[in-house]
Amino acid sequence: MTAARSSLARSVAAHAILIAYTLIALFPVFVIVVNAFKARRDIFNTPLALPTPESFSLVGFETVTSQGNFLLYFQNSLIVTVVALACVLLFGAMAAFALSEYRFRGNTLMGLYLALGIMIPIRLGTVAILQIMVASGLVNTLTALILVYTAQGLPLAIFILSEFMRSVSDDLKNAGRVDGLSEYRIFFTLVLPLVRPALATVAVFTMIPIWNDLWFPLILAPAESTKTVTLGAQMFIGQFVTNWNAVLAALTLAIVPVLVLYLIFSRQLIRGITSGAVK
């Protein structure tokens, strides 16, 4: 194995870079999780130390579960993320299918228009979005967040998925047409399973910003009944006093659901395409 394609020095260097990057990426998460299990004094004295029997404390988690409405916040976050994600994947995939499959006037223009959102951040339109939501009475509802996040996620989803859909064999779709399948059945039963890895990628990239977002929940749905986890964690950050135990505990808890969702999708990613349809 040491022959032609691998040299020790090169693979050591590659691994060193990868490990360094992993450490950098994981460090903030590590600090949050470690300190969530420590008493307040120890957070400030030895922020990088692991919790010891003396410094171990669950006071943050106790505050979170007793004070806030955290179960509700979690539920809100989950509803918003899952529904927005479902909408992004469904509508994104459908739009991508239309763009890649059908020849119609203005196809390229439409594709560019739909991809424009990748370059222009949706937050630039916050004021207008707020006005629309106020006018339509959607302020302080989860619907408002779901709509905004769907709009936010669609451009990238359409961009990535339409590239992948172009690679799905024309013969397969045509075979479906000859056998009398409707375009919807072709889309759902033939094309979607074949682009599943791409769907998983899009899902991961769409989901995490939604879950972590503070901006739109703060502006569009700050009411107690519609708070998301990220917004809920803010109530422990005061102008003068911050309950770091509670903040860190809340953030630690907030990692769990998104991690689970991520694991589900990455399994899909790795499992790969259903092979054997063509060649």
Binding site: D179, G180, G276, K279
Partner: protein, 333 residues
């Protein structure tokens, strides 16, 4: 009865013309093959017949009915694709029965037809497998089975053998020929391989650059090609095109002579030439020759022969089998 009738079929993509008015009739039970180099429009024509592509102009009639506005599933056709195009999520049986289920056929009838088709193609042991568990040859047999189950008025084949290796290609070719005999069905088949065309077809349609160059039986095309394109496309090795003037013929521009109609001898012949290369295939031998006035050409000898490269030989053309072409490349008859 006419199984398929194309009249004035034109197809344009944007500003490029792909088909320039195709007229063709196919009789019932005929095996018709569209052959031509890649990009000649033969696949597009097949897709227009299938209804997967709309013709820009012209009408398609299947079994006497105009089907221009009929969706593919209602045209009474079945299609076999180059990449097999089996549904990955269905078993072999599911693949074969899907179309009939869509038509709302009775379960017993579906069972019976799938049974008949799978017996015919030897697919019975594979019925419960998924496409991913099959080899390339098996997949293509399933794809053919899927077409047979529907009992279509018209079978369409889009380069069905191109993805198979050489040995499997011959077997599947024989299978398709047998199927055509047993079913007595009308088949339209697209290929770029003239050997497939010659061995399978009742009628070959030679296409080039969106036009039909010639329609005829394999032997008609071999013996009486209408122009230099057809003459060069049919037959392997390719027909030699020699300058007529160099051979002393002033009424034609080009003389076409097939490699198998050239006799080679070490001592006597009409033309002295040099051997540039030799290919020994066992059953026959291809000689690549060069003459100073006529240029390079190929001779095909039957049986084993050997002439050393760079040695000099004498050839005689069988002038009764030569083809004469005018300046436009059309055959002079």
């Amino acid at each position: 009865m006419t199984a398929l009738e194309l009249s004035g079929i034109k197809k344009t993509f944007g500003s490029t013309d792909v088909l320039h008015g195709i007229d063709l009739t196919v009789e019932e039970g005929e095996f018709v093959i569209f052959v031509g180099p890649s990009g000649c429009g033969k696949s597009t024509l097949l897709r227009i017949i299938a209804g997967l592509e709309d013709a820009s102009e012209g009408t398609v009639r299947i079994a006497g009915e105009t089907v221009n506005a009929t969706p593919p599933a209602k045209r009474g056709i079945a299609m076999v694709f180059q990449s097999y195009a089996l549904y990955p999520h269905l078993t072999v049986k599911g693949n074969m029965s899907l179309a009939m289920k869509q038509e709302g056929a009775a379960k017993a009838e579906i069972e019976e037809r799938v049974g008949t088709a799978s017996r015919m193609l030897g697919l019975e042991p594979l019925l419960e497998r998924r496409p991913a568990e099959l080899s390339g040859g098996q997949r293509q047999r399933v794809a053919i089975g899927r077409a047979v189950v529907r009992k279509p008025k018209l079978f369409l084949f889009d380069e069905p053998l191109s993805n198979l290796d050489a040995a499997l290609r011959v077997n599947t070719r024989l299978e398709i020929a047998r199927l055509h005999r047993e079913l007595a069905a009308t088949m339209v088949y697209v290929t770029h391989d003239q050997v497939e065309a010659m061995t399978l077809a009742d009628k070959i349609v030679v296409m080039n650059a969106g036009r039909i160059e010639q329609v005829g039986s394999p032997m008609e095309l071999y013996n009486r090609p209408a122009n230099t394109f057809v003459a060069g496309f049919i037959g392997s090795p390719q027909m030699n095109f020699l300058d007529a003037a160099a051979l002393g013929d002033t009424t034609a521009k080009t003389i076409g002579i097939r490699p198998e109609h050239i006799a080679v001898s070490a001592e006597v012949g009409d033309l002295a030439c040099e051997v540039t290369h030799i290919e020994q295939l066992g059953a026959d031998t291809n000689l690549y020759l060069r003459n100073e006035t006529v240029g390079p050409f190929t001779a095909r000898l039957f049986g084993e022969h050997y002439f050393a490269p760079d040695s000099r030989v004498h050839v005689s053309f069988d002038r009764t089998k030569q083809h004469r072409f005018d300046t436009e490349g059309q055959a002079i008859r």
